[in-house]
């Protein structure tokens, strides 16, 4: 997010900053490669691009909490997983033609993605409201550990609840449907994810530039100052946390569609760490940072994973190198310092 985006439009077009050029280039590559891969019939690469896009959406969600609100959540896998399980459970009941619940009113499953997305985001929002209301009473290292602990609670709940597969997870036999387009097609599904990524970035940018975003940013830098200007920091941060969770939940719903499967691994704390890695690798607080981070992560996993099964060792070393020596992530290296540390 750049300052020029929110500044009143001047008559002279502002010169594109280096970050904007990088952003445009990254998105163009992300869009062009699957189009090309699809044209030569390599759906594998299209799905890889979908995976990058979905992880990027999850990262955009977390980046809003960390970069804008200064809330270092180590539990975003909870929302990623809740989004995924919403998809899985809706598809399960739709496939089995059973009811999710009969009392006090009947809720059946559905195979309509649009409905599932909305439901997934609402449920994530409610979960984030509850988790945030308790976690945000604390700060700093307490907040990190508590968000981690709550995510772990949901993970153990998913494992020990047998109805929806428990440890084995839940298969989605048929990809859910979208009106008018064929979501079964790899390219179409990628384009849907890509549009949603653009939407998530747009929402994140608009919110960051709004009065609410300014208040959230101030809450990150100095809560007392925000309070003295007459704004209670708590509801501002809670709202930011909920929005962040909803974006990550949407990514979880898409991830379940892509894999045709949901399982407790979506909720595991490694997943929380990975989402955080997308944000850090790209650069904290950079609007398009998670796209770069997710792309690097997926490419590292795929290509080093082909070469050696011990790719996580190299990932760990790379990550350590970025944290110790390349503060500001990849975006920081290419486009210079972020607007804040």
């Amino acid at each position: 997010m750049q300052r020029t985006d929110t500044a009143p439009k001047s008559i002279n077009m502002p010169k594109l900053s280096r970050e904007t050029v990088v952003n445009i280039a990254v998105m163009a590559i992300l869009l062009a490669l699957p189009l090309w891969a699809s044209s030569i019939g390599e759906d594998y690469y299209v799905n890889l691009a979908s995976l990058i896009t979905i992880f990027a959406i999850a990262g955009v969600g977390l980046n809003f909490a960390i970069g804008q609100g200064g809330m270092v959540s180590f539990g975003h896998a909870a929302f990623f997983g809740i989004g995924g399980y919403t998809t899985g459970i809706a598809a399960f009941h739709s496939f089995e033609e059973t009811l999710f619940m009969a009392m006090p009113f009947a809720i059946s499953g559905t195979n309509q993605m649009l409905i599932i997305w909305i439901v997934a985001m609402v449920i994530c929002g409610i979960a984030a409201l509850a988790i945030g209301a308790i976690s945000l009473r604390t700060e700093g290292v307490y907040f990190i550990m508590i968000t981690l602990a709550f995510a772990q609670m949901i993970y153990y709940f998913a494992i020990s609840w047998p109805t929806y597969g428990g440890e084995d997870g839940l298969s989605i036999y048929l990809r859910n449907e979208l009106p008018m387009v064929d979501a079964e097609s790899a390219l179409t599904f990628f384009l849907v994810c890509f549009v949603l990524l653009l939407g998530a970035i747009f929402v994140s940018a608009r919110l960051s530039g709004s009065r609410f975003g300014a208040a959230l940013g101030t809450a990150r830098m100095n809560e007392t100052r925000l309070a003295t200007s007459g704004i209670d920091p708590f509801p501002i941060k809670l709202t930011g946390f909920v929005i962040s969770a909803m974006i990550t939940g949407l990514a979880g719903a898409l991830f379940a569609e892509l894999n045709g499967f949901v399982g407790p691994s979506m909720l595991s704390w490694h997943r929380s760490g990975e989402i955080m890695v997308f944000v850090i690798l790209g650069g904290v607080g950079r609007l398009y940072g998670p796209v770069i981070g997710a792309a690097l992560f997926v490419l590292l996993e795929t290509y080093i994973g082909e070469w050696t099964e011990h790719w996580q060792l190299l990932l760990g070393l790379a990550l350590l190198g970025v944290v110790l020596f390349a503060r500001g992530g990849v975006m920081g290296m290419i486009a210079g310092r972020a607007r804040h540390d």
């Binding site: 308790i134 290292v141 602990a149 850090i280 011990h310």
Partner: protein, 306 residues
């Protein structure tokens, strides 16, 4: 449902809680003195268990293995402190989380490269192998009692070390004002390495002790690490007393909840659903307790860091 069963489960809960304390003590010490959140603490636990299992296999002596586990974890702790952790003290918590998360990946994958993916098995030493009669309990495993006593001994030693020795005085001084103690001529770098290695050694001891009860495998430290986080959040970060009370609380609530929650639920619903709901609820119980405590005391029960 007899008093003997309850007593036995209380002992199990105590044993579980005290092994958690061994993890939590190191975490809370490192946080209190250096202000560092160390996710790789679970890896040090794993290193202790692997060193113990390997040395026991090679030499046939559990006691040598136990000593090797403690020393191995301390050495690994000192090594990562000097190479990586030292650079993180001035960073924000986000960087610390990421860098120590990277260390977990490196440790786990490195261990997998050396020992493979198959778990190692560590047998309980013959001297501690049997069971013994306790008041009300006919046969309680001696090894579990040994863990309880060993952990209590470590807690006592730690208390003596911190409150009665010169090193402990420096640790406490480092907790309250690190610039001042450095200005007084204490080598703060070495002090930090010692504190980190001390925490690592206790984590390694915990891993080695528990390794004989369960299998020794990659990733074994992570669930324990997260529970240790819950413990120190409840107890108040930086407080060893809080860690001790928090860990016993967690150990008891978790162990007793898993046994008795399904039983209690059976009074209200049919057996099958009581079992499944009971299992799901009891796995969430400690987190709900944490939420409850934080709702009342956001900084934990015994906050030491203000």
């Amino acid at each position: 449902m007899t008093a003997a069963l309850i007593f036995e489960q209380v002992l199990n809960g105590l044993q579980f809680g005290l092994t958690l304390f061994l993890m939590a003590a190191g975490l809370t010490l490192v946080f209190g003195v250096m202000g560092l959140i160390n996710l790789a603490h679970g890896s040090l636990y794993m290193v202790g268990a692997f060193c113990c299992a390997w040395i026991t296999q090679q030499t046939g002596s559990f006691w040598l293995g136990l000593g090797g586990g403690v020393l191995g974890a301390a050495a690994a702790g000192a090594l990562i402190e000097m190479l990586v952790i030292r650079r993180l003290y001035d960073r924000d918590h986000l960087d610390q989380v990421l860098a120590t998360f990277a260390l977990i990946l490196i440790f786990s994958e490195g261990t997998r490269m050396v020992f493979g993916s198959m778990p190692l098995y560590l047998n309980i030493p013959a001297a501690l192998g049997g069971t013994m009669a306790l008041p009300g309990v006919e046969a309680y495993p001696v090894y579990r009692l040994f863990i309880i006593l060993a952990a209590l001994a470590v807690a006592l030693l730690l208390y003596l070390l911190i409150s009665k020795t010169r090193l402990g005085m420096r640790i406490r001084a480092g907790e309250s004002d690190r610039e001042m103690i450095a200005a007084l001529g204490v080598d703060i770098k070495t002090l930090y390495t010692i504190v980190f290695a001390l925490g690592a050694a206790i984590a390694g001891l915990s891993g080695a002790l528990v390794g004989a009860l369960r299998s020794v495998q990659v990733g074994m430290g992570e669930p324990v690490l997260i529970l240790a986080f819950v413990v120190i959040v409840i107890g108040g970060i930086g407080s060893i007393k809080g860690a001790l009370i928090g860990s016993i609380l967690i150990g008891l609530v978790d162990t007793l909840g898993r046994i008795f929650l399904p039983v209690i639920l059976k009074f209200f619903m049919e057996n099958a659903s009581a079992n499944s709901i009971g299992a799901a609820l009891s796995s969430m119980l400690i987190y709900l307790m944490m939420a409850g405590i934080l709702a009342v005391k956001p900084k934990g029960l015994f906050n030491a860091t203000n």
